[in-house]
């Protein structure tokens, strides 16, 4: 017998994704992976939004999630563009090797 999936489950999934994403941003060196991790964080938010929309029977949260997806696409496009330009110049995508902005 299956337990019904409640709002709490969603929130836990969301929290798990957020933690995984955050750790990915902080720990991984490859910028492509960091961007992917950011997508995880955003999707954690999306799940949150959708979960509360279902919980409150209110469609606003779902609409907001679609906005977030749209913005995330744009952000990923810009981020990857910058990354390619960076790679052409520095021949690397390792975040710890790109450290010019310092004293």
């Amino acid at each position: 017998m299956l337990y019904p999936i409640t709002t709490v489950h969603y929130l836990m999934l969301s929290a798990a994704l957020l933690v995984i994403g955050t750790l990915g941003v902080l720990a991984r060196r490859n910028i492509v992976v960091i961007l992917m991790s950011i997508e995880l964080i955003l999707n954690a938010v999306n799940i949150n939004l959708v979960a509360f929309a279902r919980h409150f029977q209110n469609v606003q949260g779902q609409i907001f999630a679609i906005f977030v997806i749209t913005v995330a696409v744009a952000e990923a496009a810009v981020g990857l563009g910058i990354l390619i330009a960076l790679f052409r110049n520095r021949k690397t995508v390792q975040a710890d090797e790109i450290e010019l902005l310092k004293w």
Partner: protein, 691 residues
């Protein structure tokens, strides 16, 4: 009674020749015969217009003088307008305002002058038609000549010293232009420059005298000056009035070729002969005499200066006469003779006998213009020859010239009855009353005058012909347009003296002494002197007259014997005189001395001194300033580098040092910053969760 129409139109008198001059100098080139198809007729225009304007001036002058004689006061002043109006300033007599009119004064003195100037000018203009007929620049010559007449008439008609100075400078300019008329000849151009420069020295004196006069008396108008001086008593010692008079006299020595500024006049003979006759014998050079006579009230109050005038006049007279004794150029003899005669005039001025000076000026204008024009006629006949050593026996070939020049020569020598006798004898008599030494100099000069004049006549007209064969072939008498002026002037030289016969000749009525009476109102300065003349001196005067005639005769006879009878003796005498002869021939080396002292000494020596000054002091100052500027700039660089920049760098260093710990946070590692975000969020969340 006669009206005053001519007197009121007195301003027209100088304007006629000005009109001629303006026409000639502006459009005269169009009338120039050279290369012009209508040459003859256009030349006629010049020949009619220019002498015509002077004739008009002469006629208007006669009209004005006749009307002046009809006035009770015999003074007529016309002030056209205030010409120079200056700011007021503090003078010796309180607040004064400098003012000079454009005004004219006709009194007996200027009346004599305008008649002499316009009359003689007209005659010489006519003569120039013949003399200059073959020359280029015909229109230019007449333009300058007319301009000269304009300025000369301004000079004598002016009612104040400033306007007189305008004429004074103007005649100097015309003199320069006409001496250098043949400007392609270097000697002529140089002579023009010399005349101009030497005159500048005198003019500076005139100008200073004029300014001193204004500062002292507060006016420059002749009548007002005379009035201001009228109640002053003669100055004791050498004071401001004497200085004023001396400065004016310095101007006169320049214009009237007196020692030490006479050196320009002999060189001025480089100009065409009519110019020598008009400007450098008859009119312009007498301007100084006129000016001194015009200032008679001033010179009366300055006895020290008057003495200087007399001594300078006497010295110049004998110096120039001694040079004239040996010169070979016919015009140079006459030039030195002019200087000598001007010396006589100043002698007379110096002893206060102004009317006699003007009388001599008037007679001299006739006979010296005649002699110059005659010499021009001789030169014309000999195709330009001026050296008397290559003349001789011209008497029968150019008879009119000979007879007229003979009249002029006898007049200047002082043969009784001719013009020069009356004026020169009167000068000697007046000077005798003043100082016996000056009189003695005058007497010796009279003998020398007779000698050199007869020497000129003998070498030119008598004896054997020494003319070059080539020249001798076409000796010819001058055309009538040249001989007629000679005849007119010869008549003047013979007759002009009879209006100033000695008082001694009491048989003659007063009309024969009209000249002195005519001038008396204008020359108030000498009235006292005339009255003081000793009555018992009649015997002495006869004696002096006989003496002066005798020395003149002696000079004539000696020259006759040496140059006509026995030329060999002249040669022997010359050899015996040796160095003295050479020195006189070389004009006593005055020109050389001036060259040494002033041209080479003062001008060139001063020039090199100035160069040294420039090199050492001025350039040194410049270099020193440069060095100083470099030094200060170096100091400034040091200051800038170490102090200003140091302060800037110090503050930046301070900022750098204090920012050091903060900088350490800025690692540049993206993930480090992200970690800080996350930790920050965790802290904030933890805080909320805890509470």
């Amino acid at each position: 009674m006669v009206g005053t129409r001519f007197l009121d139109a007195i301003w027209l008198i100088p304007l006629f020749p000005l009109f001629g001059a303006v026409v000639m100098l502006l459009i005269g080139r169009k009338l120039d015969p050279q290369g012009h198809p209508h040459s003859r007729s256009s030349k006629t225009v010049v020949s009619l217009l220019c002498p015509g304007t002077v004739l008009l001036s002469f006629l208007f002058s006669i009209g004005a003088v006749v009307q002046l004689a009809g006035l009770p006061e015999r003074v007529h002043q016309v002030i056209q307008f205030t010409w120079l109006a200056g700011l007021p300033f503090a003078g010796a007599n309180g607040l004064a305002r400098f003012a000079a009119d454009w005004g004219f004064l006709l009194d007996p003195l200027s009346a004599v002058m305008i008649l002499v100037v316009s009359g003689v000018s007209f005659v010489i203009h006519v003569y120039s038609i013949g003399y200059m007929g073959h020359e280029g620049g015909y229109y230019r010559f007449f333009g300058y000549l007319n301009l000269f007449v304009f300025f000369m008439l301004m000079l004598v008609l002016a009612n104040n010293y400033v306007l007189m100075f305008v004429g004074w400078e103007g005649v100097g300019l015309c003199s320069y232009l006409l001496i250098g008329f043949w400007f392609h000849k270097k000697s002529a151009a140089d002579a023009g420059k010399k005349a101009f420069i030497v005159n500048r020295i005198g003019d500076a004196g005139f100008l200073l005298g004029l300014l001193l006069m204004f500062a002292t008396l507060g006016t420059v108008r002749f009548l007002d000056v005379n009035q201001a001086l009228a109640h002053m008593s003669p100055e004791v010692g050498f004071g401001v009035l004497s200085a004023m008079a001396l400065l004016l006299f310095l101007g006169a020595t320049g214009k009237s070729a007196q020692f030490p500024l006479y050196v320009w006049l002999p060189d001025a003979m480089e100009g065409p002969t009519p110019v020598s006759a008009l400007i450098h014998a008859a009119t312009m050079v007498t301007a100084g005499v006129y000016m001194v006579a015009r200032s008679n009230a001033l010179f009366r109050l300055a006895p020290e200066t008057a003495l200087i005038v007399a001594v300078v006049g006497a010295f110049t007279a004998i110096l120039a006469a001694s040079i004239a004794l040996v010169q070979n150029d016919i015009k140079r003899v006459l030039a030195y003779s002019t200087i000598s005669q001007l010396g006589y005039m100043f002698m007379a001025c110096g002893v206060g006998a102004y009317w006699v000076a003007i009388f001599h000026l008037y007679t001299h204008a006739f006979f010296k213009a005649l002699l110059f024009l005659g010499s021009g006629s001789v030169i014309h006949a000999l195709s330009g020859e001026q050296d008397m050593r290559r003349m001789g026996a011209l008497r029968d070939k150019i008879p009119t010239t000979h007879w007229t020049m003979l009249a002029g020569t006898l007049a200047i020598c002082g043969v009784p009855g001719l013009a020069g006798f009356f004026s020169k004898d009167e000068i000697l008599w007046q000077v005798f009353n003043g100082s016996i030494w000056i009189w003695a100099v005058g007497l010796v000069t009279a003998a020398m005058t007779a000698f050199y004049m007869w020497r000129l006549m003998a070498l030119t007209f008598y004896g054997e012909s020494r003319v070059d064969a080539k020249v001798a072939a076409h000796i010819h008498e001058s055309p009538r347009v040249m001989t007629l002026p000679l005849v007119v002037l010869a008549i003047g030289s013979i007759a002009a003296g009879w209006i100033g016969v000695p008082k001694l000749w009491s048989a003659l009525p007063d009309a024969f002494r009209a000249f002195e009476h005519w001038l008396a109102p204008a020359l108030a300065g000498e009235v006292a002197h005339g009255a003081a003349e000793p009555a018992h001196a009649a015997g002495a005067e006869w004696l002096l007259m006989a003496l002066s005639v005798a020395v003149a005769g002696l000079g004539l006879a000696l020259a006759w014997r040496l140059y006509q009878r026995r030329p060999a003796q002249a040669e022997a005498l010359r050899r015996a005189a040796g160095g003295l002869y050479t020195a006189a021939l070389n004009k006593w080396y005055v020109d050389e001395a001036y060259d040494f002292l002033f041209v080479n000494g003062l001008a060139k020596g001063g020039g090199s001194a100035l160069v040294a000054f420039d090199d050492r002091v001025v350039d040194g100052g410049v270099n020193g300033t440069g060095w100083l500027a470099r030094l200060t700039s170096r100091l400034s660089i040091w200051w800038d580098t170490w102090i200003v920049d140091g302060a800037v760098r110090l503050s930046s260093f301070g900022v750098k040092m204090s920012s050091f710990p903060v900088r350490l946070l800025q690692t540049g590692y993206l993930q480090g910053y992200a970690l800080v975000f996350v930790l920050g969020v965790a802290v904030v969340l933890g805080y909320y969760l805890a509470h």
